[in-house]
């Protein structure tokens, strides 16, 4: 089985260099490799290429820090057997569901072939969101609770169907897709790179910086541009976003168990953090900060001082909150041993990011596939926990906030601001290439893939938010938990609806 092997810093890959194999070979190879936890699939998608349907597979090898790319193709009238990989490795499930939904490619014996996002469904045109048959269990002592899709508060839409025995959840099915906006098509429908950058920033509002960095990484690889100082500034922006979101989630978890002191302390600290980002770039969520090939908001000596001062203060105060939480019996009683996702389950479903690290899975692109400043300036030691309960997910957050603060301080202490180039929206992209933007956002692994045509225009753009994998983790976490503990489990994952729905 042949792969094109690269790492997360090399330039874009020529399409002609990507080996094209038989599906049978790919199936046999993945069957074995995915049983090894050091491998996981970053992306697996299909796209039309001339008269064929081309499938690309991007496999990550965490142990050897490699990115492995392979492909296979199908003619329109081809009738090759496509045995489903989901049956063996559930981490392939969302990818196969997407391919089935978009191109009516049927994988044989695929378990639970439900649509992923419910756009126009080629496989079954009568299948829409409104008539989706939720999984049911018959029983006199059971009842169903439906939550959503309209959220009672201010967040996004998603339908949750609980099957409960009294207060206990037997099964939770999550139906998403209500937020589907056709982001991937929008990327290809314009050649205006500024517009594409803005699109990337809008994929998921809470990961504006992360998705923008993934997009700029993918496009800069297509131009062969690499600027060390620019990468350092982006890394700082990423860590600021990570801090802000982790602090906000700590506060939200405290809110959900009615622990007021933790809530107000974290709300205040989150404000300081996002206001620091605002003082740097004019937007609290870092929109406008990340631009291809350059920046409009370079760091200056004053801004560096301001960031270092604020972050040191946030770190000190957040550490107090952390110690407070760790020493509060009523909070530990709520968070410990609640919503367990064992490591084996997390690996099976292909969980990524902080939720997987809370279960003990070693998944962190910053150390497995270093990029930007993580490649040279930071020796990233990933934070992992063992239990995979709500407390572990909270503690991963707590420690990552402190770690991020240290990284920001370390980078800024040795950083001399230089004149960075202005953004460049016009340079033509290299033609017939495949480029990968692979980064660790605060939630987990974000993977953008861009494919260019002969003229250097992006013809296929694929986005993967970590939520795609981790929603299933939430469904597993609440099994046999009390239904009233669903909100803290949900908050402990804090997954994105629009990141999943695109």
């Amino acid at each position: 089985m042949k792969y094109y092997i690269t790492d997360n810093q090399n330039t874009a890959i020529s399409l002609s260099e990507i080996p094209e194999v038989e599906y049978a070979a790919l199936y046999e190879d993945l069957k074995e490799r995915l049983a090894d936890s050091s491998y996981h699939v970053a992306h697996y998608f299909a796209c039309p290429e001339e008269n064929r349907l081309k499938f690309y597979l991007i496999l990550l090898n965490d142990a050897e820090h490699k990115v492995m790319v392979s492909s296979f193709a199908m003619e329109y009238y081809d009738d090759i057997a496509l045995p489903s990989l989901s049956a063996l490795h559930p981490q392939m499930h969302p990818f196969e569901r997407e391919i089935t939904e978009l191109y009516n490619v049927e994988f044989d014996s695929m378990p639970w072939n439900k649509p992923l996002r419910f756009p126009y469904n080629r496989r079954n045109q009568n299948s829409t969101m409104d008539n989706y048959p939720f999984y049911t269990i018959e029983g006199d002592s059971l009842h169903e609770v439906n939550v959503g899709p309209i959220h009672a508060g201010i967040i996004e839409p998603g339908a949750f169907r609980f099957i409960c025995n009294g207060e206990n959840v037997l099964h939770l099915e999550i139906a998403l897709g209500y937020q589907h906006r056709g982001v991937e098509n929008e990327f290809t429908s314009t050649t205006n790179r500024l517009r594409q950058t803005l699109l990337a920033e809008s994929i998921a509002g809470d990961s504006a910086v992360s998705h923008a960095v993934a997009f700029t990484m993918a496009t800069e690889k297509l131009m062969g541009i690499h600027n060390e100082n620019l990468n350092i500034e982006r890394t700082i922006a990423l860590e600021l976003e990570r801090m802000a979101m982790h602090i906000a989630d700590t506060g939200a978890l405290c809110t959900d168990v009615a622990y007021q002191l933790g809530q107000v302390a974290c709300e205040a600290l989150r404000t300081v953090t996002i206001n620091t980002t605002q003082a740097w770039c004019g937007n609290r969520f870092g929109k406008g900060l990340i631009r291809p090939c350059g920046t409009n908001k370079p760091l200056t000596a004053e801004k560096i001082d301001m960031i270092r001062k604020n972050i040191a203060e946030v770190r000190r105060r957040y550490n107090e909150v952390k110690e407070d939480i760790e020493s509060s019996p009523t909070i530990l009683a709520r968070f410990e041993q609640c919503g367990l996702v064992p490591k084996a389950e997390m690996l099976r479903i292909g969980g990524v990011g902080m939720a997987s690290r809370a279960s003990g899975a070693k998944r962190d692109i910053r150390s497995s596939h270093p990029y930007a400043a993580y490649a040279q300036h930071i020796d990233h030691q990933m934070v992992t926990m063992r239990d995979g309960d709500v407390m572990s997910r909270l503690m991963v957050r707590c420690q990552e906030v402190l770690q991020s603060a240290d990284y920001i301080e370390q980078l800024l202490a040795n950083y001399t601001p230089s004149s960075l180039p202005r953004p460049d929206y016009t340079t033509t992209l290299q033609s017939e290439k495949l480029s990968i933007g692979l980064i660790e956002g605060w939630r987990g692994e974000i993977c953008h893939v861009a494919i260019t045509d002969k003229e250097g225009a992006i013809v296929t753009y694929k986005v993967k938010d970590p939520s795609l994998h981790n929603w299933l983790g939430l469904a597993i976490a609440v099994r046999s938990e009390g239904i009233s503990d669903f909100p803290i489990n949900n908050k402990s994952f804090n997954l994105s609806y629009c990141g999943h729905d695109l």
Binding site: V145, E167, D256, Q260, L261, S328, T330, I483, S484
Partner: protein, 304 residues
């Protein structure tokens, strides 16, 4: 005159407690917080609004808030304020008080079931369970109050039991603590319930009122304040009986006792896991039994 003053003071207590809880929480959170009378303004807005009814509900749903409030008012009118005299007082009014509030609970549970909402059904199930579990504590608490004097009317009990007797003082203080705990459960406060949560799946009392709006919602709020005031006043009376049996002591004490303790607990600790609530409430009943037992021994004049 004493009866009118008594009634007015109960109402004042009912109004002041939520205000003090909010202020305590705000101060402890380092926030400016809402004004003391914000809850009154909110209810004023609610009372001036019309209501919206779900099409699945019946007449039961519409009359429930009125019965709920009515029951709470009747219950509140049975509570004396230290040396004053309540409007409704007769032999056995402690039992009547307990079951008037039980009537309020039953009607609101039925109204919640009437909506057919899965959330409200869950809330109703929880409320019914916790209501059943707290009832022994309430009954044993009343028995402890009646233990020394043998009367079964609030007014008579507190009238008789004011003394500087050490034994009685111990029992009265313990009973006051018991009724404070019952007040936490009955008014749906942390750690049992969280009146501020927006998460339907975790709610108990709030989720049963999700379909109510406008004037109905206002009535439910007022009934809640009255219920809290009743239990606080019983606790305050028990304390007042041990030394300073005057209304000008009992009223501020009732407000401060509940207002501060609820405010502090809600600021500094997390809510129980729902499955632990049953243990928490049964423990209150066990505590009630223990206090009754202590009271019984003391009544027999065992030396301590």
């Amino acid at each position: 005159m004493a009866i009118v003053l008594n009634t007015l003071l109960i109402i004042l207590t009912a109004i002041a407690i939520p205000g003090l809880i909010n202020r305590t929480r705000a101060v402890l959170a380092g926030r400016k917080g809402v004004p003391f009378v914000q809850h009154l303004r909110n209810v004023k807005v609610l009372l001036s609004k019309g209501t919206v009814y779900s099409t699945t509900t019946t007449a039961l749903f519409k009359i429930a808030p009125a019965i709920y409030l009515g029951a709470a008012i009747v219950a509140a009118l049975m509570i004396p304020v230290a040396d004053l005299y309540p409007l409704i007082s007769f032999k056995g009014d402690v039992i009547c008080f307990a079951y008037t509030l039980a009537l309020a609970r039953v009607i609101i549970i039925m109204a919640a079931m009437d909506t057919g909402s899965s959330f409200e059904g869950m809330g109703a199930a929880r409320e019914a369970l916790y209501g059943a579990l707290i009832e022994p504590a309430l009954m044993i608490g009343f028995a402890t109050l009646a233990l020394f004097c043998g009367y079964t009317s609030f007014a008579d009990i507190f009238e008789y039991e004011q003394s500087f007797d050490l034994h009685l003082t111990i029992v009265m203080l313990l009973t006051a603590f018991l009724f404070l705990k019952i007040a936490f459960v009955e008014s749906g406060r942390v750690p049992v319930d969280d009146p501020r949560t927006h998460l339907e799946l975790t709610m108990i009392h709030e989720v049963m009122c999700l379909d109510y709006s406008g004037i109905d919602m206002g009535m439910i709020h007022i009934a809640g304040w009255l219920k809290t005031a009743c239990f606080s006043m019983i606790a305050a009376n028990a304390v007042a009986a041990t030394g300073c049996f005057h209304w000008w002591f009992a009223v501020p004490f009732a407000v401060l006792l509940t207002g501060l303790s609820v405010g502090i607990v809600e600021s500094t600790q997390a809510r129980n896991k729902l499955s632990r609530n049953t243990t928490f409430i049964v423990t209150i009943s066990a505590l009630a039994a223990l206090i009754f037992f202590i009271g019984y021994l003391l009544k027999l004049n065992i030396n301590i």
